[in-house]
């Protein structure tokens, strides 16, 4: 769900920020396979799987829902993001700037930076749960909103400060550690699942001789499909499918990965995202869910979702190291990128201090378990918030000329704020908010109609905007 990529997605310090990537700098398929596998096997995967269990999901719904949802996510990369990336070969930000103008991109940066901050906070929280195993302090419960012990606050402070300092100095070393750790981490996640499965078999006395027995165990013990924990939304097949599809919506349909896939030789390289989806968002989620379900089986009153203790019980120190590295290596670039996004808003501020302050905000956020324990809702919100701009880019690239309008209109007329794009974004979010709060549509489902609303609004508003705002000098 999170990202380890470097600053090619940022405004400064990266290559080909304001020009298409040249042919001789394109990368092969393998580069993307490794990147996606590592990027989507993050510390937060250890939260998401258990939160599905807490949402009372059934075995069929989670196994098939994830299969379909992840497949749709891969198809979104292949058919929505990659074709534009490999044709325009521009960063997301430069492409947005051409469409929306500098000021609107700054607003987008701000939204992106805030969401990155919260996401990094969740990753810091995950890392801090590993410290809890060593120092044995009180850790947050599933429904806690506020920090519940001094030990917890200190642990998050220490983890977050270390991560922030490293990010401020430039996180390249951590990024390298993350890349080196990726194959090992994926296997440790799989080992979690295998170990948890055996623990279930032993604890329930189930006789397992074939796959059908495993399926029966999954249905009756692991994902029982009962009522959700109090205060949680009951997850069905549709919840799981849409969650899996849209949890990285900012990256595929939201077009954030234009910045990455612009280096791909062919648009079909988008299928490389399948490694991340089916290793990180399938196997890792299922494995983490098995560990949490086993914890509930042993003590139904212990509903805490704490990756550190879960991993330690299953795989000992190796599991604990996995939690720390998974949290650290994903929190670092997230803080770094949040800092760069904020720096674009305040260009005169030094990157070092902006990143450090951003890390500080993420650390304080991480002390409050509300976001981490509500990660499913937060991730859905994250995708929703940035999705309308993806719809704007899609329409601007493929459709707008069919309506007799111009693409890249801000660049064409020298505007710094394309109101058609800005209004399409904000009105879509307002409609989504109304649908969620007054029409009873859950946040997991609102992004799909939201995309069509944003696309339609952008076309309609551009018809008005492009009539009113004319280029000073006619473009060729």
């Amino acid at each position: 769900m999170s990202d380890k990529r470097q600053s090619q997605e940022t405004h400064s310090g990266s290559e080909y920020e304001r020009e298409p990537v040249p042919q001789n700098r394109l990368l092969g398929f393998r580069s993307f396979v490794g990147m996606y596998a590592g990027e989507h096997t993050a510390g937060t995967e250890l939260m998401i799987g258990p939160l599905f269990v807490a949402a009372g999901v059934s075995a069929f719904d989670v196994v098939v829902g994830l299969l379909v949802g992840n497949l749709l996510a891969v198809l979104s990369w292949v058919f929505m993001c990659a074709p534009i990336a490999t044709r325009a070969r521009l960063t997301l930000y430069y492409q947005l700037e051409k469409i929306c103008g500098r000021k609107l991109v700054t607003l987008y940066d701000l939204a992106n930076g805030v969401m990155f901050c919260f996401l990094a906070g969740a990753m810091v929280t995950v890392s801090a749960t590993a410290l809890g195993v060593w120092f044995n302090f009180e850790m947050p419960a599933l429904d806690d909103l506020y920090p519940n012990s001094l030990g917890w606050v200190i642990a998050v402070f220490v983890s977050g400060t270390m991560i922030a300092i490293v990010a401020a100095y430039g996180y390249k070393i951590v990024a390298k550690v993350g890349e080196i750790a990726a194959p090992w981490m994926v296997l440790v996640f799989i080992a979690f699942g295998l170990i948890g499965l055996r623990q279930f078999i032993d604890a329930t006395g189930t006789q397992v001789t074939n796959l059908s027995d495993v399926w029966t165990l999954a249905k009756t013990q692991i994902w029982q499909g009962g009522p959700p924990h109090p205060g949680r939304v009951k997850f069905t097949f549709w919840h799981v499918m849409f969650f899996a599809w849209f949890c990285n919506m900012a990256m595929h349909i939201g077009m954030s990965d234009l910045s990455v896939l612009r280096f791909a030789k062919k648009s079909w390289y988008g299928v490389a995202s399948g490694t991340g989806m089916f290793l990180g968002h399938y196997l890792a989620w299922l494995a983490a869910a098995i560990l949490y379900a086993f914890q509930l089986h042993q003590d139904p009153g212990n509903t805490r979702v704490l990756p550190g203790p879960l991993a330690y019980r299953a795989a000992g120190l190796a599991g604990l190291i996995c939690v720390i590295i998974a949290g650290w290596t994903t929190a670092n670039p997230t803080i770094y990128r949040a800092g760069l996004a904020f720096q674009a808003v305040i260009p005169k501020a030094s990157r070092f201090w902006v990143t450090l302050v951003t890390g500080g905000i993420a650390t304080v956020t991480g002390m409050f378990p509300a976001i981490t324990m509500r990660l499913l809702d937060f991730v859905a919100l994250y995708g929703l918030l940035l999705m309308p701009m993806g719809a704007v880019i899609f329409v601007d690239f493929w459709l707008i000329r069919k309506f007799g309008l111009h693409s890249y209109y801000a660049e064409r007329c020298g505007a710094t704020f394309n109101w058609a794009a800005g209004a399409a974004w904000l009105v879509t979010l307002a409609i989504a908010w109304i649908l969620v709060n007054y029409a009873g549509l859950q946040i997991f489902f609102v992004s799909l109609p939201g995309w069509f609303i944003a696309a339609t609004l952008y076309i309609g508003l551009s018809m008005v905007y492009q009539k009113k705002v004319r280029p000073a000098v006619a473009a060729s």
């Binding site: 750790a181 440790v188 295998l194 055996r198 000992g316 120190l317």
Partner: protein, 57 residues
């Protein structure tokens, strides 16, 4: 030297996975699994870092 590091790294990943498979099959104790996984972890980082450090960008 590089080839040796690559071979050891790949082997360490095999050693990392085998204990959990054996545990699933009921042929290894959990404590042993944990220690072998820790050893494989140390081995992986020791052997993979020298060649992957240069390869990663």
């Amino acid at each position: 030297m590089r080839t040796m590091f690559i071979i050891v790294s790949v082997l360490s990943l095999v050693v990392l996975m085998v204990p959990s498979i054996l545990f699933l099959a009921g042929r290894m104790e959990l404590n042993t699994v944990k220690w072998v996984m820790l050893a494989a972890t140390v081995l992986w980082f020791a052997a993979a870092t020298p060649w992957l450090w240069k390869q990663t960008s």
